[in-house]
């Protein structure tokens, strides 16, 4: 079982859309996939029409075992399940802080899922805290959506520094350009220079700023389900194709 974490310190960069569409593409590819919606906003759960759970809380979930198993829901798509968000995920940080070895907890929680799943996709909250640290340690690949702006460059540098500090393998840090608008000179310029500057590997696929991906909120489906031929859907499929060998 492989773990793919979609992560960004900045919000609104297309992280959740990527998590949802990549998880869907992986399941269509025959991987038994579990999407963990750890973002308390619960956008990924919303896209799959799965309501946030009312019962239970994050502390119990972190204890693992049956609580986690019972919280998992099937989506409408074969081979794709989701752990829906929960309002108490806002307290994930505090809950993690209260247990032993918090850094290793997400990895420990996921271990028993090997029996049921080939791939776990994590939609991380946009923070650089204990939660993120624990997720980064559990992930075989951390994928960062990068909007080609100067600020994004800085946040990527922060993440590289974090990898360095935590002695994580920098080869596990990948990025892709997100919300790309090729009409903008700045976007084009940064897309040619950014990949050269840091240690992070940039995917060849760039996900465009696409109205179809925005429409996912209305359709409440992965983009491939309602606009299969759209630039957004094609880019998500290409991105998955690029990741799939790395995650097998």
């Amino acid at each position: 079982m492989k773990v793919l974490a979609l992560y960004s310190i900045k919000g609104g960069v297309g992280k959740t859309a990527a998590a949802v569409n990549l998880a869907h593409a992986a399941a269509r590819d025959g991987r038994r996939t579990l999407l963990l919606d750890l973002d308390p906003q619960g956008a990924a759960s919303f896209y799959f029409r799965v309501r946030p759970r009312k019962k239970g809380d994050v502390a119990r979930l972190l204890a693992g075992g049956d609580h986690l198993q019972r919280a998992i829901r099937a989506t409408d798509y074969p081979d794709l399940d989701i752990l829906p968000a929960h309002l108490s995920f806002r307290r994930l940080e505090l809950a993690l802080d209260a247990i032993k070895k918090p850094h290793a907890r997400v990895r420990k929680l996921l271990k028993p899922q090997r029996r049921d799943y080939d791939l776990v996709v994590i939609d991380c909250p946009p923070t650089l805290t204990l939660v993120a640290e624990s997720v980064l340690r559990a992930a075989d690949l951390v994928l960062v959506p990068v909007v080609p702006t100067v600020l994004s460059q800085r946040t990527l540098e922060m993440l590289e520094a974090e990898f360095d500090e935590q002695k994580l393998d920098p080869a596990r840090l990948w990025a892709f350009f997100s919300l790309v608008d090729r009409r903008k000179t700045l976007h084009r310029d940064l897309m040619s220079t950014l990949p050269q500057q840091g240690a992070t590997h940039f995917c060849r696929t760039c996900v465009p700023a696409s109205s179809d991906i925005e429409r996912m909120g209305l359709a409440r489906e992965p983009v491939a389900c309602f606009a299969a031929e759209s630039a957004g859907a094609v880019a998500m499929q290409d991105l998955w194709n690029e990741l799939s060998t790395r995650l097998s």
Binding site: R49, V50, A71, A74, D81
Partner: protein
């Protein structure tokens, strides 16, 4: 998650039924599809016994788990005749390896064909999220033909939405739909009047300790007659080599039973049947010998250095030609009126066999005495064998062991299964050694005869002679090894622990009779 299945009564109003099961939630109009589904297995149900099914549907071959239909391997169906053996799927097929492991050298036979119509409904909650899937599957059997179609309603649960499944299951129960847990293939077979695993390896007959030896003999003989008959069609169609093998085993077991139960039926009345069974053994022998030779082909070639291997080619061509001749001879013999008459006469005979003086002896007494005698004789003969004993002594011991094995198998339902199984393991160790020794003797005699055959000359003949010589040398070496290993195999069988197990069997039988 395992689906819930219910049998649908004929003439049910499906949309109304599904709306009822949905418990007021939204049900989208059904999607319907139609396809033809075919199931395959080996004649001895090797896939079914391993809880697997092989299905051809919608242009693919699917290897699945019998119980829940979980897909294990899939391959596109190619044009042309259906694959017969695992290898026919092609080395690159994802089915080839798992099927080879499951089927071994057995061929696939076609079990059932049905035209299947599946209607499926999605039940959605207020968020339009699917919370339950319902499917109605209707199967019209084409082979074997059946009148009424088989219709099943399947509730497919979705993880985390089990409460909707429970609601639907309760609604189904309230409508008195009968729940069914049998796998789809079993339901289809049953609907078509077929029984899964109706043929299998090994001898199976339930005998009671207190029945008379005569009754036991009749039951055993009828079981074996059925086994012979079951294998005839596949043997004549030459589906695979094991039909003949199993047929021969049934004949051999019958001949063994005639010997074991001497005195139970009037010996004189049995004599003509015994002669005929012996003749059947002889009749089928040459074809089986050729089959064994051909099945061993790769192994034999592997014993030779690369450059000598082509030399064996003419021999295999000759074997294939003789195989065709032998097979035709056997087909004619099995189709001949005198064979049919013999089987009919044997069946009539078994309906009312003339009693011998031991007919009324209870089976446990009879079997126990016979078992003791045979076991002792195997021990006595085995102990008498020295490194200098002639091959014929080992041959005789091999036959005796085989008789002992058949006797244990005939009477196995009288004894604790664990004891019998353990005994058979030790006996098999000895039988394997003696069997290999005998096979090597036969093979060497065959090869020596081939070397002496005067029918061909020239360079090809020389290459063949070199290959045969090479093979003979290797076989002779192995023959010596197996011969040297005899005392180890026999000592294992004659060990006090094994003897105690045998004694337990006779004692158990005597306890029952006491």
């Amino acid at each position: 998650m395992t689906p819930y299945a219910f049998t649908i009564p004929p003439g049910s109003d499906l949309p109304a039924l599904v709306a009822d099961l949905a418990g007021g939630l939204h049900v989208a109009p059904p999607e319907a599809r139609r396809s033809r589904v075919r199931y395959f297995d080996s004649f001895d149900w090797r896939l079914h016994r391993a809880e697997r099914t092989l299905r051809r549907q919608d242009g693919t071959w699917d290897l699945q788990i019998l119980g829940d239909g979980q897909l294990l391997a899939r391959a596109p169906a190619r044009p042309g005749p259906w694959p017969r053996f695992a290898a026919d799927f092609g080395a690159d097929s994802p089915l080839a390896r798992p099927l080879a492991r499951l089927l071994g050298i057995r061929a696939l036979v076609h079990l059932v064909t049905a035209v299947c119509r599946i209607e499926s409904w999605d039940v959605r909650n207020e968020d339009q999220k699917i919370v339950l899937r319902v499917a109605a599957e209707t199967f019209e059997l084409e082979k074997p033909a059946a009148g009424e179609p088989l219709a099943r309603l399947i509730l497919m649960p979705l993880r985390g939405y089990e409460e909707h499944l429970q609601t639907a299951a309760r609604a189904a129960a309230a409508r008195s739909l009968a729940a069914t847990t049998s796998p789809l293939l079993d339901a289809l077979l049953c609907h078509g009047g077929l029984t899964p695993r109706s043929y299998g390896p090994g001898f199976q007959a339930d005998l009671a300790p207190d029945q008379s030896a005569l009754q036991a003999f009749v039951t055993i003989s009828r079981t074996l007659l059925r086994a012979m008959r079951q294998n005839e069609a596949g043997l004549r169609a030459d589906l695979d080599t094991e039909f003949l093998h199993d047929y021969r085993v049934a004949v051999r077991r019958q001949r063994s039973a005639l010997g074991h139960f001497r005195g139970v039926v009037q010996d004189q009345a049995l004599a003509p049947f015994a002669a005929r069974f012996k003749q059947l053994g002889r009749l089928t022998g040459p074809l089986r010998d050729i089959d064994v030779d051909l099945l061993e082909r790769e192994r034999s070639l592997g014993l030779l250095p690369d450059h000598l291997r082509p030399g064996l080619q003419p021999r295999y061509e000759r074997l294939l030609a003789s195989r065709a001749t032998e097979l035709n001879r056997l087909r004619r013999a099995l189709a001949a009126p005198d064979y049919r008459e013999f089987l009919a006469a044997w069946r009539t005979f078994l309906a009312d066999p003339p009693q011998g003086e031991l007919a009324e002896v209870p089976l446990h007494t009879f079997a126990s005495a016979r078992l003791r005698k045979l076991h002792q004789s195997v021990l006595r003969d085995g102990r008498a064998i020295t490194p200098r004993s002639p091959d014929a002594d080992l041959h005789r011991l091999r036959i005796r062991c085989k008789k002992l094995r058949y006797l244990i198998e005939f009477s196995r339902s009288l004894f604790p299964a664990a004891v019998v199984d353990e005994l058979l393991v030790h006996l098999k160790g000895l039988q394997d050694n003696l069997g290999e020794f005998n096979d090597l003797s036969v093979q060497q005699a065959d090869l020596t005869a081939a070397l002496a055959a005067p029918d061909a000359r020239g360079p090809a003949r020389l290459a063949e002679a070199a290959a045969l010589g090479g093979l003979l040398t290797v076989l002779a070496g192995r023959h010596r090894e197996v011969r040297a290993d005899f005392s180890r195999a026999f000592d294992d069988f004659a060990a006090p622990t094994v003897t105690r197990l045998f004694t337990r069997l006779y004692d158990l039988a005597e306890d029952v009779s006491a």
